[in-house]
Amino acid sequence: MSAMFSQNPLMNGPNYSFNQAPSTAAAGNKEHGFYPYTDNGGSTLAISGSDFTIVAGDTRSTSGYNINTRYSPKVFKIGGTTSSQDDATLVLSVVGFAADGEALKERLDAIVKMYRYQHGKPMSVKACAQRLSTILYGKRFFPYYVTAILGGLDEEGNGAVYSYDPVGSYEREQCRAAGAAASLIMPFLDNQVNYKNQYIPGSGVGHALVEREKIPLGRTEVEDVVKDAFDSAVERHIEVGDGLQMFVITKSGIEEKYLPLKRD
């Protein structure tokens, strides 16, 4: 409220006349009491296989302890030529501040659509990943408050997952969990996808331990890992639940799956 009544002259040191009172507002940037972000909770997850990629996210949207809705998708097909995105080849997941997520999705979608219109072919995941990084960094000083994950198939047809921080730092990964329950899901993924901390029983002690051999997981195994990851996250995190949306990207297209999660 003080600002409202602060037209009083500011006087440091001796002043002999009211005429010296400043008549214009002091220079400097305006700071508002308004905070432009919120956290809408939820979690996302992406795993790449040899010839497929799965991108998944829960469908709950929250404001503090309130549930806004039980169905608000965080995973989107990107760059199809139709409004139903039937012919899309890329999938983007965004978690964090939902309005920024939506804005980011629409911006990337428009860019990938324009690319297809101008070049007559779909954008590669690699190119789209680079572009997404540029978009995010473009708002370095007023960031999109989201953790994005981009999924697709690379030029060889292998599954590709690119993960981001809110200001555009990115890398290609085998798998990544993001959002509210990222810290719950990521270690589980390390263990179940990359077999971290798994050793062959009786192979020795200490450095002599032999790691379990890494084999690429098949599609059904990965789907099960995703389901288990979310079922567990729902148990331990209040912002995760209601529904699980999964996009499976293969060379024959993108398949969408929806499974109910606990609504408590």
Partner: protein, 257 residues
Amino acid sequence: MFRNNYDNDSVTFSPQGRIFQVEYASEAVKQGSVVVGIVSKTHAVLVALKRNAEELSSYQKKVISIDEHVGVAIAGLASDARVLSNFMKTQSLSSRLTYGRAIPLERIVSAIGDRAQTNTQHYGKRPYGVGLLVTGVDETGPHLFEFQPSGMTQEMVACAIGARSQMARTYLERNMEVFVECGREELVKHGLLALKESLAQDKELTVENCSVGVVGIRGEGMKTIEGFKLYDGQEVKKWVDLVADGAEAEEAMEVDS
């Protein structure tokens, strides 16, 4: 010697009330190869004759998909058409972005109409040297619009623009009563037959020089549209064969004899 003093820019009328630059722009449309558009209750089709500048070059693109529900065919300067189609693309995307709605045909057509008109009223500007046939579907069904460099736009049931397009228009006028009830295949056939009328003596329709664009509705509402699809090369073979000389007895007779 006679010299026209009223065609140096597009802002000066001649004493006869003509703007020559705009009329010259219309001539550019007539230089372009012919395109035909027809609309029925359920579909709108575009059929175009492609030209290659020389034997060794590729064929110029004549039909462009703007959005899921809109497509255009061009006659005239292809580079001017690209400017217009890029503009239409951004208009269409922005409608989807701000309202989540496919832009109504009438709206996108008047947008390019307004843009073309300003070019005819500002010193130093040049009218677009291209005519367009704009087809698409919206909540009110399928539509076909004609666009001219003057900024003129009008809704049509069938239309042909470009070189020798009068012959095609004559065909369309003769058959216009039947179009409204046509299905997509019949409509494409009529389009190609009209196109064929406009062909030069030594030319015929081939899979190389033919482009077809189709858009339509499947049922009520916008969710069930048949999105604009462009057919080129081998995809148009079935239709080209359908209207080829000798394929249809009575049609072929008239031409051959």
